[in-house]
Structures are given as C-alpha cells and as structure tokens.
C-alpha cells in the first residue's frame, strides 16, 4: 500500500471531505456537476448529516481513485495539504456541494471523461458487504445505500 493511500486512510472525516472537495475542483476544472448528480444523490443530500458516513465514503473513494493513478499523485497531495487549514466549520450546504462535486469528479476520474471506458468500475455485493472496485486498482468497502447511489449513477 502506497504512503498516499495510507495518508488518505488516516485523514479525519472533515479533512477527507475538504480534501476531496479540493481535488474535485481541481479535476473538474471548468465543468460543474449538474442535475443528474443532484438527482442521484438525493437520498443522501436531503439529510446530509444523517448520511455523513456515505458522503465521507464517497469523499475517500474520490481521493483513493485519484491516488490509484500515479499521474495524480501531486494533485492529491496538494488537495490533502490544503485540508484543515481554514478557520471554518463545514455546514450542511457545504456538505451537499461537496457530495455532488465529489460524484462528478469520481465520474471524471473513472471515465477519464470518456463514456466508453466505464467498464473500469465494478460494484458488487460480497458476503453481505458492498464493494466498489475501480480499474482493478482501488477496492473499497462502501455502505449499501452509497452502493445503490453509485450503481444508479454508473449504470451498474
């Protein structure tokens, strides 16, 4: 396991959320999430605090997926380094923005912007646990509800 992956795993929830936002903004550049992301995430973002575990999982998944590609090493580190530096506490509205951005960024990371490369993601149930596998590099346990969200979003 690379030190970057380890670093991601040791991030606190707030740091992971913030780092994922930093990364997502960097990846998405001029593009922004649209209605589709909001619609798919609706079950989670209607009550973001209630579903904070799922949103945290999504944030870590974005970071891990990016970190799985050595080309992204620097941007991921920079996103993490920028987290936890502000005099601000994340509120509900910020968490919602972050979740939609995160999902949008995850799609960009997985597909590299090309729909034809969607085969790189698998969401499976194993022994009662939901697992997501990206490009055969990242394998990450997620909650069933996030699994449903991602399945619906990625068409799995």
């Amino acid at each position: 396991m690379s030190d970057l992956i380890k670093l991601i795993e040791t991030l606190t929830r707030e740091e992971a959320l913030e780092a994922a936002q930093n990364l997502a903004l960097r990846i998405s550049k001029d593009e922004s999430p649209g209605d589709r992301e909001e619609a798919v995430l609706k079950p989670l973002i209607e009550k973001p605090f209630e579903n904070i575990q799922e949103i945290e999982q999504l944030a870590r998944l974005v970071l891990l997926t990016a970190a799985a590609n050595p080309e992204n090493d620097e941007v991921v580190r920079s996103a993490i380094a920028g987290a936890g530096r502000k005099q601000f506490i994340l509120g509900g509205a910020e968490i919602i923005v972050l979740a939609t951005l995160g999902l949008f960024a995850l799609n960009l990371l997985v597909t590299k912007g090309k729909a034809s490369e969607q085969e790189t993601i698998k969401i499976e149930e194993e022994d009662g646990k939901t697992m997501i596998t990206v490009e055969n590099r990242v394998s990450y346990g997620i909650s069933q509800s996030l699994g449903q969200v991602l399945s619906s979003y990625f068409g799995r």
């Binding site: 929830r13 920028g82 936890g84 506490i89 968490i95």
Partner: protein, 1184 residues
C-alpha cells in the same frame, strides 16, 4: 351532626376553620364520591395560603345495600355522637367502624374486589364480549365505568391495571386507552339499540345520562360517535336513511351535551328536529311518535343558534313572500321546543323582517321604528339601574343582529333612537349602557363614524362631574365598559394617546368595583386593548410584553393570540404569525363559523400570500368571504379588496378575484359607502396596486382618479402605501416630478414609523415589505437627476433609505442629504485629506455607481459605472463560491474561477479611476448588490489593487460612516480563542500560541480578558464584551442559516464546537454560534471588533435592504470598527495578519486605524503574495 373544627395546614401552619358534616355515601351509586375516595381526593381541601392539600378525614357512612353492610369512619372519641343515629338502622345490619380512610379502604376492599375488579379484568382481556348482551349491560354500572376511566388515567391510589411483557409503558397506555374507548363507545351504541328495541327513543337522553358518567366520555369516544353520523337525509326520498340519520345525530347530540362539548354536527341535529317538527305539522303525514322527543331532551341537546340558523336557511330556500307566516311558524316551533324565552328576549329583531331588503330605505326605517317601539314597550327606562343596564345589553344585542344581517341603516336608526330616548328620559344608566354596548357592536362591524357620533352625544353626560360620580360609584363596571369602548373607538380613529387615557380611566374605575364582583377578565381585556394601541403606535416591545403576559395567563384565548398575530404581521414576521394563527384556527375549528372566523381566514390568506403560497391563501380568502355575513358589510368588502393582491392559475380562484373586482367597482359607485373613507382608501389602494402591477393602471384612470380626488378632499394623512401607489402611477404616466413628490412623502412616512429606541430590534423585519417601494424610489431619483429635474444630493437620501435603514434606526440617526455632506466635509477637514465615497443605486435592471467626495460635495452618477444587475449578481455568486472553495495549498483553481471577478474588477477600476485622489481615502458603501465583493481589491491600471494605492474602508450606509468622529483609545481588550473538537493538534496549538502572543502584546498597555476554549461560551462572551474596548476573536466561522447569516463559533461550556455544522438539520447546534441577533440584548459592544472567523465579514442583504451580518447589531451597540474576513481564510495567514496588526496598533495607537489596517495587509503580501491571503480582511465602520 355538624362539627366546628379548626385544621392547621401541615406545611405552613395556617389555621383553617371548617364545619364538618357527617357524610353519607351509597356504594356503588354515589360513584363520583367513591371515585374521589379511590383517587385520594375525597374531603381534601387546599390551604388558601400555601396551596398544600390537607386531607380532612371527615366522618363518613358508607352503605352497601346489596351486602347489607355499613362502614363508618369516625374517630373513637366522636363515636358516641353516632350512637343515636345508629339505633335507627335495622338490627341485622353489619356495622363496621374505621378510625380513618386507610382503614375504610381496607374495609371496602372485598366490595371492590367483588363488584368491580372482575368486570375490569374481563374488559381488558376481551372476555367481556363473550357474555350475553344483557349481562354486559348489567355489568357496566356507572361506578365500574368510572373506575375503569380512573384506572386508564392512572389516578387511582392503587393501580388496578398492571402490565407485563415487552411493550413500553407508553405502548401499554395507548393499548388500554384504545380498549377503554371501544368499551365506552360500544356501550353507548348499545344504549341506543336498547332504546330502539324497547321503543323508548324519546328517553334515550335520560338513559345515557343515567348510565354513562359524563367524565367517561372522552374526546375519542365523542369522535367515534360523531363518526357514526351520516348527515341529513331527506325523509321523503329516503325514510330509512332519515331514521338512521336522526338516531345517530340524536346520540351524538346527547353525548356531546352530556360531556359539555359543542356538537360539531349540531346543525345537522337541528335540521332533523326542525324537519320532524315540520312533519308533525303536515296533515297528510303520519309521524312515528318515537320521533317526538321530550322538551327537556331537545333543550339539552340542541343549541338555540343552530336551530335558528337552520330555520332561517330553510325559510330562505322556500322563498316565500309571507315572511310573517314563516315567522309565526318558527315562533311556534321554538315555543314547543322550550326556546321561547331566548327567542323573545334575545332576538327582538326577528319580528321586524330580518330578511327584508337591506337596500330599501323604507324597509330599513320600518324595521328600526318597529324595533324601537317594542323595546320601549318591553324594557322601560328608569325602573332601576340594573334594568337600565339590561336595556343597554338588549339594544346592543339587537344592533349586532341587524349589523350581522346587513341592516346597517336600521341598526344605526335603532342605536340613535334608543340613546336619544334614554337621554330624554334622563335614564343615564341606560344611556351609558346603550352607548357602551352599541359602540362595541358598531366597532366590531367597522362602523366607526357612527360610533363616534353616538359617543359625542354621550360626552356632555360623562363630562358632568355629578353624573360621572354617580355612575362611577354606584355602577363602576358599567363605566369601565364605557371607557373601554371609548378607548377602542379612539384607537380606530388613530387617537392613540387619548385611547390610552381612556383605558387608564377604565383601570382606575376597576379599583372601585367591590372585590367580590371584580373580574380579572376586565383587566385582561384592558391590557389587550392597550397592547393593540401600542402595536398601532409602533411601540412593539410594550405591545408584545403586554400580550405575552396575558397569553401566559390565558394560552387558549383566540382573541389574545390574534392580537399577537397582528403584531407579528406588522413587523413582517410572517412565519411566526402563521404558526400562531394556525394555533387559533385549531382552537376554534369545531365552532360555528362567525365573523371573527372570517377575520382569521382573511388574515391567514394574507399570510400565506406573503409567504409565497398564493393559491392556498386564495382558498382561505374564499372561505373568509363566504363566512363574512352580509353582502354589504365592511368586512366583506375588505376581503374583496384583499383579493386584488392575489393571482390564481385555477378557475375557482380567478373567478373569485373577478367577482371581487365587480363587487368593488359596484361599491365605488355606491354613494352610501362614502361615509367610510378608510374603506374606500383600502379598496382604491389595492385596486390601483393590481392595475399597476398588471401595467394597466392607465386604462383605469377614469375609475381611479375621481376616487383619489374624493379621498384627498377628506384627509391628507394617508399611509405610506397610498402615497407610494400614487407615486408609482404618476411614474407610469411619465409624470416623474409628481411621482418623486409622492414617493418622497411615502419615504418620509416610512422614516417616521421605523421602530426606534426600545423597539429597534423590530426594525430589520419591519423593513422587509418596503423593498419594491425602495426600488421604485431609487429608479425615479436616478432618472430625475439624469434629467436635471432633481438635485443630485437627493441620491444620498435615497441610498440611506434603501440600505441598512435598520442600522440607522439602531444608531438613532436618519441623516438628511445636508447632514451627510457636512459630516463628510468635517471629517475630511479633520483628517486633512479628501474622502471619496462610492455607492451603488439601482435603476430597474441596472446598477449605477455613484460618487461623492468631500471636495466636490455633490454626488454624481458615474457614467462609466453601470452594470447589468443580473450579470453582476452572477459574478458575485461565482466570486463567493470561488473564494469559499479555494484550496490554500493550490490557488490555481481559484485563479481560474475568479476570472469573472477579474473582469468586473477591472471595469470597476476603470470607472472609479478618474475620481481617485492619491492622498485621499476611499470608502465603499456597497449597498445591496456590491456587498460581499472584495471592492478594496479592485484592479487599477498597472495591475495593482486599490488597497495598494490608498486606504480603503467600508460602511453599510452614511449613518454608520458618520456615526463617530473619533475612535476612543483602547484601555481593555478581550481575546477569545475557540478551536473545534477535531482540529489538528498543530492547528489548535497555533491558535493558542497566537492568542498568548496577543495577550502579551496588549497587556503592555491595556487590561486583557482572556476567554479560551470551553470557558468561551456565548453567555460569557456577551458578558465580557460589554466591559472592553476591543475584542479579538480567534475562532472558527460557520454559516448559521438564512436570516442569521455568518457567525462565530463558540463553546457551550461542556463542549467545543463540533467538526461539522449542519445547523438546518440539527437546529440544536445554534448554541455553538454567535450571530448578529445574539448581540441584540447587550448594552454595549466594544468600539473595535477583530475576527478571523471565516467569512465573518460577510453580510447577507435581504428584502428592504436589510443587512443580516455581525455589523448590524455590533454597530447598533457601539462598535465603530469591524475588521473581519470576507471569505474562508487560511489560518496561518489569518493569525499572521492578526499579530502584525496588533503589533502595529500597540506600538502606535495614535495612528489612524485604516492606515494600520492597510499597512498590515501590505506587510502580509511580502510573505503571502496572493490576495487570497493578504486581502481577505476588510475594515468596516465609521471614519474617524
């Protein structure tokens, strides 16, 4: 036996003298006394001093005939008193003596176990219904039912129901309550079946009352019985349905009246009774005698008003011309039902053709004359004072009836004539009573002109000292009522001070009423009326305090609650008002529709519209319109006028609006309505507003213009809304000068009314509904200045009224244009430099930047300084998001996303550049649309930021800019440091270390208060800031939701703020954030506030130009300089900025704060070159 005794209270020792009788109880027939015994409440009194409950242990004889037993409770030393009595008892009687109630409890245990417990056990285990029906009916004695009720309520001394199993106590309670409801409901239904089978329907009323204790009839039981009702069925087309409906309505009426509750189906029951009576009169119909109920049963089960309403409705349907025949018919029925007294006493009006046409003057005269004749005959004057006062009540009652039925003319005739007659008869008691009651009725019907006329007739009488004294001393209650009504009338005429004086008189008279006759209700009514006056005077705090005190005493009083609704509406707190109003409607929902109900529905309609739910509001309005009694009543016309504010996409709604429009147009053509200019004013204003919004006002000028002229011939003291409508209309007609004059008048009226002083906390919300007016005012002003038809200095006044007016109210300052110009000149002179102020004004979709300098002294609208508002607001949002989401470690994303701002910044720079003076000071008043933008970083030619060129500060408006001529020296400082629960060790250590350094720095010259981590609670901070000159917050920032905006995170004493702050989802988190409204209650705030809490410099501008941010209350309470960041800043840079600033301030306290602020920012630029780091702080406040 009658024993005089003194009992001492066991708690306070107060001696209570009592006469104790021997009490006799039959087991089980005296079931209410027995229940009191089993609940431990029998013969218990309350100490009048300490309210402690004292058991008396009064002697008792409990007889159980079935068991042939008597149990006597009597102290041993008193037993001899009974001996004589007991000799009269049969020899074979079992007599047992007990010394106290505990012993009695044990002695009666076998009876209870034999007669009660087995039945209750069967009931709860569902075995009861295995018994034959006759046995069931026999087993359920009233005593058993009452014990069952107390057992369910859990009020028995020793519970008889115990549950085992997994369910929670709440679940058990629900279960047993459900069983109880079924048992009682079924029992009552069985009683109905029993009476049907035994052909004893007429006696059902007596049977239910004898078999079911009234306390056993719960709301759920009533609801079940009510649910059985099937409405009214036509006896001719559906005789079976009619019979079933009759029986169920009868049963519902019985149980409701027995339980002392109003029957929601009372009108249906009245219809059945009326129908049965009609059928009994029909020659060719044989009516089953079972339908003929005893008079007592009818009187007990039907309300007179239901019966009256039903008969009126049915008579109206008959459309018979022979009104007198119908009346005679009705009178006969009322007599046979036992309502003759009510009919004759209360409704004298009836014989005089209540259904006569309301618009026929001859008919009105006839009704009035006839009624006066009958009243004079039946209720002569000068019999005695009590009879005279009764005459007042009778006249008032009849005037009310006439008014409610649309007979305004007849009502007024009766009122005037009866008052006149009483005065001529020198019956002053009657005169004052008529005055009070009639004015009450007329005020309720909004017939204020006539009220005033009657009161003026009475004034000589009241002013006469001897009469006044006679009335006041012999019948003070009468005078109290009179002055109260007088106050109400004056209130409606806006003579508020006089109204308060009248209430004062009334209160003084209350002191003359003998103590035993005093009713707290009178004082409550006076307080409520006072509160309304204070509310209408704009003294909201006093009004609210009075109302809340009364509501605490009577929380279920709809009238009181409604007054509070009025106050909330007047201050635009619509959500609160709607909550209260829904509470009121819940309270009255089961009652019959009344004029007051119409008022509530009208109000709710307006509230829903104000909250954006127009269609729902319109539905309420339609209900209100239908309820409002008479077609021509003022209330109904006001409802129709209110409909003009609504739009509907549904056919029902749009048809209603059209109907109202026709009603209003007809009213404007009706000369009779001219007697009430306030009504015409409401109608015309709301109609004009609709036409203006639709852009069709010009087409309706022929209707509106004569009305305006007529209104202005009456009075010129119109509300601001009228002036605004006239101004808006003139603007649409291209008459800009007239428009300005009208709008200016409206503006002045608004200025005069804004809550100030102790009411100032109401001012932010009060401004909300002035938004549209403000935008029109601004547009007209700019256009007229452009055309040279208005002095440009007026622009200053416009800015002031449209931006942060509530802050000016808090400062107690509303400045004229001259005040502003001279104030700025003085400041410039003192500082020996030019002061350059840039401020925006709105003209429709365009935002104009305006400029004023201390040298030119005349504002200009900058030609190059105009932008599309929508575009600008879009850029503002993008800039906000970009800055908020910036990654301090990698600002490349921020740079890309700030492109729109860069462009706007350059164009702003270009616009202001020609006006900039190198040695001057720049101040931005950002108004509505520029607030939140980093204007101090506007880009000038050569790529430099404005702050690099000169000192730059902000102020919400001119009032704040000029609030203080000098910044006092700093003698004491508070340093508040709070981290969040999961800050990294490094982050927390850095904050605490900086805090230490700052304390060391400031301690050299000042007294320093330190509030750190858990001790930094909201309460402690608010306490400390009142004692210091400067406060420094090293805290996190958080968004506290719409209306509260950005705030500063603090501890709650036990915990640090959480790491996530979803305040909308978890409102309880509010305790961890200080926002503008928290500073409302403090007496003073430090003159300088420095905060590094993220975005704590951001202000949310809402409708009316109201500014929700820390600035609002801090500035209102003495803060003159607020230094805080516009975005979420990097901690390291923020702390560095703070240290540099503090060093500079402590080293050179005399240096102007804006210089120190600028130098600090530029010093930071050396280490942190990006403006994200060095340019985040703004200096907001006064110039010194």
């Amino acid at each position: 036996m009658d024993i005089e005794s003194i009992v001492n209270c066991g708690i306070c020792g107060h001696p209570i003298r009592l006469s104790i009788d021997l009490q006799s109880i039959e087991f089980p027939d005296s079931y209410e006394l027995l229940i009191e015994f089993y609940e431990g409440q029998l013969n218990v009194i309350k100490c009048p001093v300490c309210k402690h409950k004292i058991p008396l242990g009064t002697p008792l004889i409990v007889t159980n005939t079935k068991q042939n037993s008597v149990i006597v409770v009597i102290p041993d030393e008193q037993r001899h008193i009974l001996e004589e009595l007991l000799t009269e008892f049969p020899d074979n009687l079992n007599i047992e003596y007990c010394v106290d109630y505990s012993a009695l409890y044990r002695a009666m245990a076998p009876w209870f176990s034999d007669d009660v417990l087995p039945v209750i056990k069967m009931l709860v285990t569902n075995k009861f219904y295995d018994q034959p029906i006759d046995t069931q009916m026999e087993m359920l004695s009233p005593f058993v039912l009452r014990v069952f009720k107390s057992a369910v309520d859990g009020t028995l001394i020793e519970p008889i129901l115990r549950f085992t199993g997994k369910a929670s106590p709440d679940e058990h309670k629900r279960l047993i309550e459900g069983i109880y409801t079924i048992v009682i409901t079924e029992f009552i239904r069985q009683l109905l079946q029993l009476s049907v089978k035994s052909h004893d329907i007429p006696e059902l009323n007596s049977l239910v009352r004898a078999r079911v204790p009234s306390k056993c009839i719960t709301d759920d039981v009533l609801s079940n019985i009510l649910g059985d009702c099937v409405g009214f069925k036509d006896p001719l087309s559906d005789p079976t349905g009619f019979r079933r409906g009759f029986l169920r309505a009868y049963l519902s009426a019985i149980v409701h009246s027995h339980a002392g509750e109003e029957d929601p189906q009372g009108d249906v029951w009245a219809t059945y009774l009326f129908c049965v009576w009609k059928l009994s009169k029909a020659e060719n119909i044989f009516l089953d005698p079972q339908f003929r109920l005893p008079r007592e049963a009818i009187r007990q089960t039907v309300a007179f008003r239901d019966l009256w309403d039903v008969t009126t409705t049915i008579d109206n349907l008959n459309k018979s011309d022979d009104r007198m025949a119908l009346f005679a018919d009705r009178l006969e029925m009322m007599k046979s039902f036992g309502f003759q007294a009510e009919f004759e006493e209360t409704f004298i009006t009836l014989p005089f053709g209540i259904d006569a046409p309301t618009d026929d003057p001859v008919a009105q005269q006839k009704i009035g004359d006839a009624m006066v004749t009958v009243m004079l005959e039946r209720y002569p004057f000068n019999v005695n004072p009590d009879k005279s006062i009764e005459v007042g009540a009778i006249v008032g009652g009849n005037v009310t009836i006439l008014l409610n039925n649309g007979h305004q003319d007849a009502a007024i005739l009766v009122a005037k004539e009866m008052l006149d007659r009483s005065l001529r008869a020198h019956d002053y008691f009657a005169a004052v009573a008529i005055g009070a009651r009639v004015v009450e009725a007329l005020n309720t019907a909004e017939e204020f002109l006539m009220s005033a006329e009657l009161m003026s007739q009475l004034m000589p009488l009241i002013e006469d000292t001897s009469t006044h004294t006679l009335l006041g001393t012999s019948r003070p209650s009468l005078m109290l009522d009179f002055f109260n009504e007088m106050g109400n009338l004056l209130r409606h005429w806006h003579s508020y001070d006089l109204a308060l004086t009248m209430y004062c008189f009334a209160e003084e008279i209350y002191g003359l009423i003998p103590e035993q006759e005093r009713s707290l209700n009178s004082i409550s009514v006076l307080n409520r009326n006072r509160a309304i006056v204070y509310r209408d005077m704009g003294k909201y705090r006093k009004a609210k305090d009075l109302l809340n005190a009364e509501i605490a005493r009577r929380p279920d009083d709809p009238a009181l609650l409604f007054n509070l609704v009025g106050l909330e509406i007047q201050t635009n707190n619509f959500e609160q008002a709607l909550l209260r109003l829904n509470q009121i409607i819940d309270l009255i929902v089961d009652k019959k529709p009344s004029p007051l109900w119409a008022e509530y529905m009208l109000c709710r309609a307006e509230l829903k519209r104000s909250l954006g739910d127009t269609e729902a509001g319109l539905k309420d309005l339609i209900v209100a319109y239908d309820i409002a009694s008479a077609a021509k009543s003022n209330r109904r016309l006001r409802i129709a006028a209110t409909a003009m504010r609504f739009r509907s996409d549904e056919s029902e709604g749009s048809d209603f609006i059209q109907k109202c429009l026709h009603v209003l147009l007809a009213t404007l053509g009706d000369n009779e309505r001219r007697s009430d200019p306030s009504l015409i004013l409401t109608i015309v204003t709301l109609m004009a507003e609709r036409y203006l919004e639709e852009g069709t006002a010009v087409n309706f000028l022929s209707i509106l213009q004569p009305e305006f002229e007529w209104l202005e011939s009456w009075d010129t003291s119109f509300p601001w809304q009228y002036e605004y409508i006239r101004g808006w209309l003139a603007y649409q007609l291209g008459e800009s000068k007239i428009a300005w004059s009208r709008l200016e008048r409206a503006a002045n009226k608004i200025n005069e009314r804004i809550p100030q002083g102790e009411d100032v906390s109401f001012s932010p919300a009060w401004m909300y509904d002035k938004d549209r007016f403000q935008q029109h005012l601004s547009s007209v002003a700019i256009e007229l200045v452009r055309r040279d038809e208005l002095p440009a200095t007026e622009l200053l006044k416009v800015y002031e009224l449209t931006n942060g007016r509530e802050i000016a109210a808090r400062l107690g300052k509303h400045l004229s244009s001259e005040d502003i110009i001279s104030g700025i000149s003085k400041l410039a002179e003192k500082a020996n430099r030019n002061i350059q102020i840039f401020f925006p004004l709105i003209e429709g979709k365009i935002i104009h930047l305006c400029y004023l300098s201390s040298t030119s002294r005349v504002p200009v609208v900058i030609e190059q300084g105009q932008w599309d508002r929508d575009e600008l607001l879009k850029v503002r949002k993008q800039t906000y998001n970009a800055l908020k989401q910036a990654n301090p470690e990698d600002l490349s994303v921020l740079d890309a996303k700030m492109q729109p701002w860069t462009e706007l910044s350059a164009s702003l720079g270009k616009a202001i550049a020609p006006y900039l003076d190198e040695s001057g000071h720049v101040c931005f008043l950002p108004g509505r649309d520029l607030t939140g933008l980093p204007l101090h970083l506007v880009q000038l030619s050569g790529g430099i930021n404005l702050l690099e060129r000169t000192t730059v500060t902000y102020a919400p408006n001119f009032a704040m800019l000029l609030a203080s001529q000098s910044l006092p020296s700093t003698g004491s400082v508070a340093v508040v440091t709070v981290s969040k629960r999961r800050d990294s060790d490094k982050f927390r250590a850095r904050a605490l270390e900086t805090s230490r350094e700052l304390i060391d720095l400031w301690q050299r010259n000042c007294e320093v208060h330190e509030l750190k981590e858990l001790e930094a609670t909201a309460g402690e901070i608010l306490n400390v800031i009142q004692r210091v000159d400067q406060v420094i917050f090293i805290c996190h920032g958080a968004y506290a939701g719409p209306g509260r905006g950005h705030g500063i995170c603090v501890s709650d004493e036990r915990q640090l703020p959480p790491s996530l702050f979803p305040i909308v989802e978890v409102p309880d988190l509010e305790r961890f954030v200080l926002t503008w409204d928290d500073f409302e209650e403090v007496d003073s705030c430090p003159h300088t506030v420095v905060s590094i809490a993220c975005s704590s410099g951001l202000t949310e501008v809402v409708a009316g130009g109201t500014r929700h941010g820390l600035e609002q209350t801090l500035f209102g309470h003495g803060t003159r300089a607020l230094i805080s960041p516009l975005w979420d800043i990097d901690q390291e840079a923020g702390l560095e900025w703070l240290k540099t600033f503090s060093q500079a301030r402590t080293q050179n306290p005399e240096r102007a704060i804006e210089e120190t602020y600028r130098e600090t920012s530029l010093a930071l630029k050396v280490r942190f070159s990006h403006p994200y780091f060095w340019g985040s702080f703004t200096l907001n406040g006064s110039l010194f």
